[in-house]
Symmetry: C2
Subunit: 209 residues, 2 copies
């Protein structure tokens, strides 16, 4: 049998963990396969035993991220909750999946910066489904006369971009605070999520005008 046993999967998992950290810290081009191997307490050849290439390794990490978000968001959209509650959970779900993966926010930010250079068809599908689920939640609220119609892309950007910004800047904000910047210090995840939930609902309920 060629299927990996427990010990094999363990080293494969170590590679994935090490690679996620490396891609997050240095980006795709800056990531070093040899360093990934050392972090995983293995050698370079093992990476090419488990994965076809540096690119394939990266895609696996990318699709785990976007796949996890899609799963959560589609489930929320199909649930029997009311539209307001769905929006709150939508925000919390993205925050939750990002917080569960320290590499998520940096990799997400870099992909946006590259214009989605490494985004393959599978990833495009995930993003399409996430935006589709969001659209259906908004539609449901509009039909129930509780929401105003908003552009899903503008709405989504207003939520996910600040979220990724805050998760990714934890270290930088500390540094800025030491450099004399006001109010850059620690803000809790809960505060930011609550704030963005409120902001999201205020937009949908037309409280801005």
């Amino acid at each position: 049998m060629s299927r990996p046993r427990a010990a094999d999967s363990a080293s494969r998992a170590r590679i994935l963990r090490a690679a996620a950290a490396e891609f997050a810290a240095r980006g795709y081009a800056g990531a070093n396969v040899d360093r990934i191997a050392r972090t995983a307490r293995l050698n370079k050849a093992m990476i090419y035993y488990h994965f076809t290439s540096k690119a394939a390794l990266y895609h696996e990490i990318l699709n785990d991220m976007f796949g996890a978000v899609r799963r959560q968001v589609v489930e929320i959209a199909q649930s029997p909750l009311n539209p307001q509650e769905k929006v709150r959970r939508y925000v919390a779900a993205i925050a939750g999946e990002a917080e569960a993966r320290p590499h998520f926010p940096p990799i997400w930010l870099r992909e946006i910066a590259e214009g989605g250079e490494h985004i393959d068809k599978a990833t495009v599908g995930y993003v399409r489904d996430v935006l589709g689920a969001l659209s259906s939640i908004i539609d449901e609220g509009v039909r129930a006369a509780r929401f105003h119609r908003v552009n899903p892309m503008v709405f989504q950007g207003g939520i996910i971009a600040p979220l990724m910004f805050f998760f990714a800047t934890t270290g930088l904000r500390r540094r800025l605070a030491r450099g004399g910047a006001t109010g850059a210090a620690d803000i809790s995840t809960g505060e930011v999520v609550a704030h963005l939930q409120q902001l999201a609902l205020a937009q949908l309920e037309g409280k801005l005008t």
Copy 2:
């Protein structure tokens, strides 16, 4: 005299333009000095004639970006406008400087992703001043009993992150639209700026609760 004449400055400027585009597209680690030289219609040696290193070249671009934002924002904070108008102009100023430099949003997003790895003391100073100016605008509004007090960092993140997201995703959004995503198509800069101005003021004026 060793000061460059017109022709010299022209090639220096071409290097800076080419480098900005390269760093934006591929990130610091991914940027290739030889490709920068070719884009600038020069050769690699000329880059090391005008700049001490790849890192020095990058810092010059970074500090031009953050310096421009600081100049604008400090001027707005010190102007005799009312606090609401200052907030509107604050949002528009960041959008304006970003739009004037196509490399600005991608480089900004990448720096956030790296936790400000390439941010030197000069850059930290710029960011500190920008947050300081924002804080003074908020304080002014609070004293005039027009604004509620908000955390400047949370507030700033809610504005600049969506702005950079939208500028950086122009190409990607078209691709997602072709891939079947709803509402991902073209949204104008004016719309996004107006939306974020409204969102900013709604927060400060306590319209969210």
